[in-house]
Symmetry: C2
Subunit: 252 residues, 2 copies
Amino acid sequence: MTNVHQDRGLTPVQEAGEVAPEPARPAAVSLHGEVLSRLRDFIVEGNLEGGARIPERRLCEMFGVSRTPLREALKVLASEGLVDLLPNRGARVREFSVSDVTELFDVMGGLEALAGRLACERITEAEFAEIERLHHEMYGAYLKRDMHAYFHANQLIHQAIVAAARNSVLSAAYATYAGRIRRVRYSANLASKRDRWAEAMREHEAILDALGRRDGSELSEILFRHLRNKEAAALDHLKGEAVALGAAEASS
Amino acid sequence: MTNVHQDRGLTPVQEAGEVAPEPARPAAVSLHGEVLSRLRDFIVEGNLEGGARIPERRLCEMFGVSRTPLREALKVLASEGLVDLLPNRGARVREFSVSDVTELFDVMGGLEALAGRLACERITEAEFAEIERLHHEMYGAYLKRDMHAYFHANQLIHQAIVAAARNSVLSAAYATYAGRIRRVRYSANLASKRDRWAEAMREHEAILDALGRRDGSELSEILFRHLRNKEAAALDHLKGEAVALGAAEASS
DNA sequence: TCCAAATATTTTGAATTCAAAAATGCCCTC
DNA sequence: GAGGGCATTTTTGAATTCAAAATATTTGGA
């Protein structure tokens, strides 16, 4: 995966007359955009230690570009909250404290509540049917204790609700914040206890019900509380991890 | 051409003659940050025609910097949604369609609803007392038909609610979206009819009441509907303006 | 005169260069 | 041997340079 990056042959000097074919990616029009999305993915996927200093030069080598587009990308990522820029001291991957995660979950909850409300105003029958289908798929995964399939269907449901809200500003904001907490959220789900799982399933029943009745206020309410519960589970996990880490560090 | 060095030199702030001195700002440590916040303000305040092409060189002259920090600032503003970057075609101030404004107001409504809910959990007595004071101040302005004072107190109340939510991610998001719609929102308030004004005042009574009872769900509900009503007023105004503009352009 | 092709100019995207700030290492003192 | 100041190296911030793309202008032809 990482060698895809190096192999890409995006050499700073355009020595090769013909452009290498790259049908997979939609071929960003600018190096800036290319570097931005690759670096964002790279960070979101957890390939860089949080808090560690990242020399620009190393990243330039990694992506095979000069510092100009890389630095542009870093400024954008800083404005997205993924990176900290210390003046004259370089960039580092932002570390999230417990309170940061709390804040992010609350904002996600607010956005999902909004999405639910708007979705009730605008959702089509076809969209609702698709969500219903995903819900049953998720329920099947729950019965089979297939965590991965459950998690996947769950994500698709929440995404479908956001999409049904038909608000591009909301979608963009949702994507940004989802990216920030993706790592902690995923591992929290993996570690979630069975009882939380059952509870989450019940909440999803209520979500589908409110959506079916197009009751925006109620769906909004349920979604916010649903996220609050996810938040609690994630924080349990995060605190356990912090303790474990601290112990490991103390013993080493 | 070499005097760019000297011109910009040690005083990037004082350089551009037409910009008023602003000692309030904490003097950004980097040119990038300085250019970013000045350009953002410049756009938000409506000094650039929407949709018009903005050559980088002109902006460089205006701010007295080279293209590097300016281009970095443009990328960040593009990610904030204030600017459109057309590949190989330069930057232009983003134009907001009616549906863009609708989307922005809905997101603002979602954020305010969230702020209200969180504020009910966390607000102190002192903060509530201050909001109460602002409310009565606003009511006084309403009775005196002092639009400007009313608008000011109104803004402060909403800001105070967001602040009481104690969520920096929320505050940052709120500030970003508020910046995007500031112009249209202000002019809409100026143009709002008297009956909308009375209605808004009644809504604010309900806001204060729900906040006093720390009823997060209800406050959330009221705030979202309050923003929806603001949205309707703003859209009325916007459509009227569009018609007037179209007529003016047709006749010129 | 008007349109279109060819050429010249401008503007953009990105690499390179240069100065200043920070980090590193060295030596000296204690 | 430890700590502190000074020189060296590295890294960052920002200007400049250069090539490619886009835009404007000129020219040729009907």
